[in-house]
């Protein structure tokens, strides 16, 4: 996977600053869409009392995931090192199939376009797509 250029990082950080007030909304909305559009992802949440897309558990989890993405933005210069602990969590405890990172990334970007139609330009889109791909790669680092 390609590394992020200075321009990519700049675009991600700029867009992130623009949406920082809505990060929790983006998270819970992306989570809901993932559960609706890709029902197979519900298999990871069988332990929840309520797996419906707008349940308190789902909402909370969307916020947690997006918090992870926010954290990754602060570690954008070295995602592999910065996300080491999160990678170990996903590799040994959660064991989420990495194919799902792509699904979640797509849902996040659909929500970003939805909530920020003027700002989520093609240029921002490609930078964000690259960032989320690099994030997913760093998250899968410890899998094997």
């Amino acid at each position: 996977m390609t590394s992020l250029t200075a321009k990519d990082k700049d675009r991600v950080k700029t867009f992130w600053a623009q949406v920082s007030g809505k990060v929790e909304d983006i998270g819970s909305e992306a989570m809901a869409r993932m559960l609706i559009v890709y029902p197979q992802t519900k298999t990871y949440f069988a332990h929840w009392k309520d797996v419906s897309p707008f349940s308190p558990s789902a909402k909370k989890h969307g916020i947690t995931v997006m918090g992870g993405v926010a954290f990754a933005v602060t570690k954008i210069d070295d995602l592999k090192a910065g996300l080491l602990n999160l990678s170990e969590l996903h590799a040994f405890t959660l064991r989420v199939d990495p194919a799902n990172f792509k699904i979640m990334s797509h849902c996040i970007m659909v929500v970003m376009a939805n909530m920020f139609p003027e700002d989520f330009t093609p240029q921002i889109h490609v930078a964000m797509d690259k960032f989320l791909s690099a994030l997913a790669l760093a998250l899968a680092e410890k899998y094997r």
């Binding site: 869409r33 939805n114 139609p117 093609p122 490609v126």
Partner: protein, 147 residues
């Protein structure tokens, strides 16, 4: 055969009934060429694709984007026979245009994002699911005749 719920049929009909083809088509194709630059390989004779601004302002890209989007109309009109509707187009994309079918998914992801931006609140999770299912069936049909 693909089973469609009443909600899915209504959703697809609704989205396409108010589709601004000359806006959405160009936006989706140009976004695809920017976000997934390797897709530019199919448009060598389209002139200036050197940067995002050039791509977005390119009239050939715009015209072709509109054409592609109208290509979905036959699926909208005949949702129960999408596979047969696209048999010929599938052969065309394989034999004549030599397009890697993975690209269809890339374009459909960009179209989803453009529609999401356009429809806003109306494009909720259920609508997204219906739209993505529709595109997935089209994409699958377009790849069917490859060998």
């Amino acid at each position: 055969m693909v089973e469609w719920t009443d909600f899915e049929r209504a959703t697809i009909a609704d989205i396409f009934s108010k589709m601004e083809y000359e806006v959405i088509g160009p936006a989706a194709l140009s976004r695809c060429l920017v976000v997934y630059p390797w897709t530019q390989r199919y448009f060598g004779n389209f002139g200036n694709l050197y940067n995002a601004a050039a791509i977005i302002g390119n009239p050939m890209v715009a015209k072709h984007g509109t054409t592609i989007l109208h290509g979905l109309d036959r699926a909208v009109k005949n949702m129960d026979n999408i596979k047969s509707e696209y048999a010929e187009l599938s052969v065309l994309h394989s034999e004549k245009l030599h397009v890697d079918p993975d690209n269809f998914k890339l374009l459909s992801d960009c179209l989803t994002i453009v529609i999401s931006a356009k429809l806003g609140k109306e494009f909720n999770g259920e609508v997204q699911a219906a739209f993505q299912k529709f595109l997935a069936v089209v994409v699958n049909s377009l790849g069917r005749q490859y060998h």
